[in-house]
């Protein structure tokens, strides 16, 4: 089969999966358009994450296993931008928190300056340690007072700084466009974190970057879980504003009900579908724009340089390319895409639940998508995202079906049968591992290989 035909055919096959999911309940399919659109929306977001990872891995050969952290930073940005500021939070401690953080940052800068400016010796060591210790206690003193002030404000409902929404606590849901503003902010936050990691770990052996990113993602999650003043930690922020209308409002609009009627749908179903479709439309716009940009960059001189570096670092260096700098650049870019996708995901969920960020789901699954789809090929990683996300959701019905086949001959109520059926849910990780290993071994270039 020629490659020019292969891409549309594969995309068609995946589209067929989504259509079957919506239209028929045969075999493992749900037969509900609602379910199909739910999967589609997350698949669109996953596709953006996969594009980001493909940028890093496919273009430059950088191995980032901290995707979860960058995604979570995007989610944090959504809260910080789209929620209203908690009344009184800034006066009762917000200023203290910011001041404390500044003191902390100043301490680190001072320590670095002492380390670089002073002559090496015992004096320098003592001065550095002294600055760090004094600075740390000063920082904790100011910062802790601020945190206590903020967290004391109505802890059951707020107890955090809140965001930038101009509507205030009563009317913030009318300013749904703020969530859209949060998307690029999420990208910038993630890019900042990526810069710090990249600056330290790039240029060292390749697996150090992997370990460093694994670490930063765990820490980002730990910070979001524990710093209640920022986004309420594990108490979760719920009821984020939406860039699309609410179902209830649609059901009350006579115009909408009439139009739903003319399509032969009842108002409730029509409203859920309409909301999901508007999200899909928003996400599709972002995804298509990103694919176009990614394709342009891949074929530009910059893209050629990146692939040249990936394929032979030494040769590229000899040609005068600054390998570490280019790596840092693309690492930051790719992570920014993950942050953007993270902000979009939190918008879709309408809430930030730090407890749900699991590395296997957010880091390693995205990797499976990229490798299965075809690393180095933007369309490939998008296809991989759609296919793998669909399978990830459907592994459970497939697992149940498989288990019912396996246990067909066993008598009802036997311990083994119950155990097998109960464990069907754990098939997910197992099957994803098998898929990854099989693709890596027998078709390392993926479904749509790089040209």
């Amino acid at each position: 089969m020629s490659y020019s035909l292969r891409t549309p055919l594969l995309f068609g096959a995946v589209a067929l999966l989504f259509i079957l999911q919506g239209s028929t309940d045969w075999w493992i399919f749900a037969g509900s358009w609602n379910a199909s659109l739910t999967i589609l929306n997350m698949a669109l977001i996953s596709a953006i994450m996969a594009l980001g990872v493909n940028l890093q891995w496919g273009y430059a050969g950088l191995f980032n296993v901290g995707i979860m952290g960058f995604v979570a930073l995007g989610g944090l940005a959504t809260v910080l931008v789209s929620m209203p500021a908690t009344p009184g939070a800034w006066s009762q401690g917000g200023v203290g928190i910011v001041f404390g953080l500044l003191v902390g940052a100043a301490t680190v800068v001072a320590a670095v300056l002492i380390n670089t400016r002073m002559a090496a010796g015992r004096n320098r060591t003592l001065a550095t340690i002294g600055t760090l210790v004094v600075g740390f206690f000063l920082y904790r003193f100011i910062f802790d007072a601020g945190v206590a002030g903020v967290e004391a404000i109505n802890p059951a409902q707020t107890g955090y700084l809140g965001g930038l929404n101009p509507g205030g606590p009563e009317n913030y849901k009318a300013h749904g466009y703020m969530t859209l503003l949060a998307w690029p902010v999420g990208g910038i936050l993630a890019a900042g974190a990526a810069w710090v990691v990249g600056k330290t770990a790039l240029g060292l052996r390749s697996d150090y970057l992997a370990i460093a990113t694994l670490g930063i993602s765990e820490i980002v999650i730990a910070v979001i879980k524990n710093e209640d003043w920022m986004a309420r930690g594990v108490k979760n922020v719920i009821g984020l504003p939406r860039p699309v209308p609410y179902e209830v409002d649609l059901q009350q609009s006579a115009d909408f009900v009439a139009r739903a009627d003319s399509l032969g749908l009842d108002a409730t179903t029509a409203s859920t579908l309409a909301v999901k479709l508007s999200y899909s439309a928003l996400f599709t716009v972002v995804l298509v724009a990103l694919i176009i940009l990614a394709q342009l960059s891949l074929n530009s001189p910059w893209g050629r340089m990146m692939r040249a570096i990936r394929d032979n670092e030494v040769a590229a260096q000899a040609m005068g390319k600054d390998v570490t700098k280019r790596h840092l650049q693309i690492f930051v870019l790719g992570s920014a895409l993950c942050g953007l996708a993270g902000a979009m995901m939190t918008t879709l969920d309408g809430q930030l639940v730090p407890g749900t960020y699991q590395p296997l789901r957010f880091t390693f699954l995205i990797w499976v998508m990229v490798i299965v789809g075809g690393s180095g090929n933007n369309l490939g990683s998008v296809l991989g995202a759609f296919l793998i996300w669909f399978l990830w959701i459907q592994v459970e019905p497939i697992g149940n079906w498989l288990m019912s086949v396996v246990t067909y001959g066993m008598e009802d109520g036997s311990a083994l049968k119950t155990h097998l059926i109960d464990s069907a849910a754990h098939m997910r990780l197992f099957s994803m591992g098998i898929v990854l290993l099989l693709v890596l071994r027998f078709s390392p270039r993926g479904l749509i290989p790089e040209k």
Binding site: S206, F364, S423, G433, L440
Partner: protein, 336 residues
């Protein structure tokens, strides 16, 4: 008296837990370092393989317990340990045959090995959850304490108690034995020497007639032993939950890198560096400070540098500092 009380509080809450945790990390980091030295990649499946080894041991423990087999006052898990090691070794050799050997043969880049190990991690994770479930499992039995806090108070008349758990004692003793045996093996036996030769210079080792497949197989067997012991000890000391083993990956990597990847001595030192930093930074020092400082200077807060939830951040920061200032680690491991 106050000084003794402070010392006891320090040992009870900092020294003993940190030594036990450090031994567990050291055993885990030894595995990572051996794999890195011989097979030349960072094994991401390490944490989940640890969970697998511990799980097999737990299953054997339950079986022995149901048969009434016991080595009271020691936990039955020690009896089950050899069986756990054998099963884990078989599994690791099987993964090597089915997954890694192919990439060795085509001389794939190290990063491809790392990715393959990620796939293995998924599968191990799934297998463990499939067999034993994602929840907490209890399998510790036997005497719980070597020294009970109240007995210690009665015997010494101090107001601070010192508790020394059996699991901590076993951890420390086992770690010492395992490390001694491992170093004897690496430095004194022919096979151990060939392993070190292979790690130092692969081409030269091949020229001198060392069979690489045999070296690799022995490495996996040793790793299986280390990992199963570390996993079981951690489970005895704290609790067995598959996800916590995945999270151990970061401190274990940090230990191996801090000590110098590929250097067994470094892995042990790194394990203790990480464990002691984690415990001292997240410990609330008030209890010790109360005894040492005069009343007027007594702290009002907990004197805790960081909340315990940030213990991963500690290993990460140490890792970053080492990467920045001494990428080869404290003991000159391999680095490029």
């Amino acid at each position: 008296m106050d000084f003794l009380n402070a010392l006891v509080a320090l040992s009870n809450f900092v020294l003993i837990p940190a030594i036990a945790y450090g031994s567990q990390l050291a055993l885990g980091a030894l595995g990572v370092t051996l794999i890195y030295g011989i097979l030349r990649f960072s094994n991401f499946a390490h944490g989940d393989t640890m969970a697998f080894g511990a799980m097999v041991t737990i299953l054997f423990t339950w079986w022995f317990q149901s048969m009434g087999l016991s080595i009271h006052p020691l936990p039955t898990a020690l009896l089950a340990l050899p069986f756990g090691i054998v099963v884990t070794a078989m599994l690791l050799i099987l993964t090597d045959r089915t997954v890694y050997r192919f990439y060795r043969r085509v001389k794939a880049k190290p990063i491809v090995f790392v990715m393959a190990s990620m796939g293995v991690m998924f599968i191990m994770n799934g297998v463990v959850r499939f067999i034993i479930g994602p929840g907490d499992q209890r399998f510790a039995d036997g005497e719980r304490f070597i020294i009970k806090a109240r007995d210690f108070k009665n015997a010494t008349g101090l107001s601070e108690g010192l508790a020394f758990k059996t699991s901590q004692g076993i951890t420390i003793v086992t770690a010492i034995i395992v490390v001694a045996v491992l170093f004897w093996f690496l430095n004194r036996t022919r096979t151990g020497k060939s392993m070190r030769a292979f790690s130092d210079n692969e081409d030269l080792a091949l020229l001198s007639g060392i069979n690489p497949e045999r070296v690799v197989m022995i490495t996996w067997i040793i790793v299986a032993a280390l990992i199963t012991i570390a996993g079981t000890l951690y489970g005895l000391d704290k609790t067995f939950k598959p996800f916590t083993y995945f999270q151990l990956l970061l401190p274990i990597f940090a230990s191996a890198i801090v000590g110098g990847l590929g250097n067994p001595l470094g892995a042990i030192a790194g394990g203790f560096v990480i464990a002691f930093s984690e415990v001292t930074i997240t410990y609330a020092w008030k209890k010790v400070a109360v005894y040492l400082l005069p009343e007027s200077l007594e702290p009002t807060g907990l004197v805790q540098l960081m909340s315990t939830d940030y213990k991963f951040a500690v290993s990460f920061v140490i890792l970053i500092v080492v990467l920045l200032f001494k990428p080869t680690g404290l003991f000159k491991g391999q680095s490029v």
